[in-house]
Symmetry: C2
Subunit: 391 residues, 2 copies
Amino acid sequence: MKVNHHALELEQNYLFSEVAKRIRAFQAANPSRELLKLSIGDVTRPLSRVVTDEMKAAAEDMSHAETFHGYGAEQGELFLREAIAGYYAQRGTQIAPDDIFISDGAKCDLGNLCDLFDADNTVLLPNPVYPVYFDTSIMSGRRVIFAAGTKENGFLPMPDHSVHADIIYLCSPNNPTGAVYSREQLAEWISYAKANGALILFDAAYEAYIRDPALPHSIFEIAGAADCAIEINSLSKTAGFTGVRCGWTVVPKTLRFDGASLHDMWFRRMATKYNGTSYIIQRAAAKVFSPEGLAAAHADIDYYMENAQIIKSALTAAGIHSVGGENAPYVWFEAPAHAESWDCFDTLLNQYGIAGTPGVGFGTAGQGWMRFSSFCTRETANQAAAYLAKL
Amino acid sequence: MKVNHHALELEQNYLFSEVAKRIRAFQAANPSRELLKLSIGDVTRPLSRVVTDEMKAAAEDMSHAETFHGYGAEQGELFLREAIAGYYAQRGTQIAPDDIFISDGAKCDLGNLCDLFDADNTVLLPNPVYPVYFDTSIMSGRRVIFAAGTKENGFLPMPDHSVHADIIYLCSPNNPTGAVYSREQLAEWISYAKANGALILFDAAYEAYIRDPALPHSIFEIAGAADCAIEINSLSKTAGFTGVRCGWTVVPKTLRFDGASLHDMWFRRMATKYNGTSYIIQRAAAKVFSPEGLAAAHADIDYYMENAQIIKSALTAAGIHSVGGENAPYVWFEAPAHAESWDCFDTLLNQYGIAGTPGVGFGTAGQGWMRFSSFCTRETANQAAAYLAKL
């Protein structure tokens, strides 16, 4: 049996394990010093009561023959797809419930969408970038090219019309930089995609963190997207579902490439290799979109965004340039004194007990930059800010 | 963008939609007649109290910061992997917890495992067969050859040593035929796999239905399997988890092909394209393996297997040859009077109101055969048996 040799081309990504290793060494050497973890990419606030109550009610339903649910609808339960369509409609974006596919998370969908594409495609990725786009493209045997984020473009790279790409990954609000594309910028990406016969995979997992009403939450807010874009979203960061697992992907029926309907291809892929998201989880997910569920989600997001504000203000006061943190839970800042990412990481950890994430771990264009996460407690954000002000 | 043209080669499988269509037509034409559904492949008995109580407790834990769980362990929670290892150990099979990968179901794992293999491999499938093996192999661009099940071999095809294969799918107890391989037969498949440098994907999703203590529940009960086999299993049929979603796959660290460790490749694939099974579901799944959980699961399996016995006995009394139904929830029987599958389906439906599944829908070797499922109520099984005795 011959293995998929492309999967062997992946280099091990040591970013988070190396971060963890250096933190352990710091703690072993300084057992009495406080560690301020701003490196974490996982939520820390618990699920809201309205969501857990619904999980319990759904679990109870599953223990009675009359209300038991076996295999679910192939695209996901209609009540959840309608709730999601209603969520888009609140901002005036019309999405048909049968263009929505429920899944167990954005990472899974981003990876599994690779099944729909030929190996012979050129993939364009922002740099720095969420490593899953790169790793899954390499595993699929595709060529990868990059559009570099820089201080000058505010880590919002725009298309180079002299370069051809077939598949474009965009993440806005961005992980790791926290930068958010404007409507005009997304319109230019759509125009580039159409000129190249390319598909945009738009990762909107952090859209709920947008505060500026002028910024788009969905690529489907922009004209023309339904002919060239798939949108991937998740409740992981919106409602603390990182350990619960529920996401969705919008694949418009208007989307045709190479003579084929990507909607039909995705339906067939999911019907063949997936068996639906847990009924209990879909019931809980639908509650997130109720008035009480949204209020609870917004309260948690406000909490994290106040942390982001505290961290970003301290950096600004210390004369350190940053992007993000205003419409995203991540603050992306330039290492002081032109230090390299890992040197800055070591300095912050050893001098102040602050753990960040080295930007170079997200791509070469992240060298000299760092990511702070606001998924921490208020106490941690305040203490870190007090130290950062001294930088 | 070029699409994966292999995914377009799949023919639409109309089996279950055509069954549903003919049932609807029957009901419309005969509104007062009772329908006896023996076509269903989904469980009908509710979850056990011990499982739903644990779901509720886990949901409660998720609503407090101190006991909240975000992203889980990449291979699945250790408490569940240890519980599964303990389940194997009860029959004397030693499986290391770190060879077990938790997932959201066997269908997903069977499909996703395709990521590990080169397109240039020959896949050997039993015929008839669970359609997912065929469809996912075609989507991956692989050649598919078949080993035919027949009345003579009891629908337990054995390897033809003159034919080469790289990847072999085995399903025992089998869906759709209910036939179960003996230890000696699995040993011969292992010997064939080793001679061909081939990998066996062993689908054990129905192992809990085995009553005969001489039959193997796991391929790892057979010497040599750890060098050539991956086993896929699920709680869907064992504990009524079809709508809950939890399965697992055993990938031994000893498994090496083409110079690569399939264990390491699967770990990397799951870490890259999957984000873990819901914490709440993993907690509930672990309870299935507790003494109370297993007792409840066995009681439900006993119920279904009594249905199988009732159905099979009625067929035997009517002089109809069948396999399965003794160590599997499916009874696979020869259509009377050498009828074709769909003709037999129509006769049973229109004369007796009994809905089965035409065997030809599972592959050409199923022509002239039918599948009855025991996932029905006792009343349905008894009523169907009364009609079948008249055949």
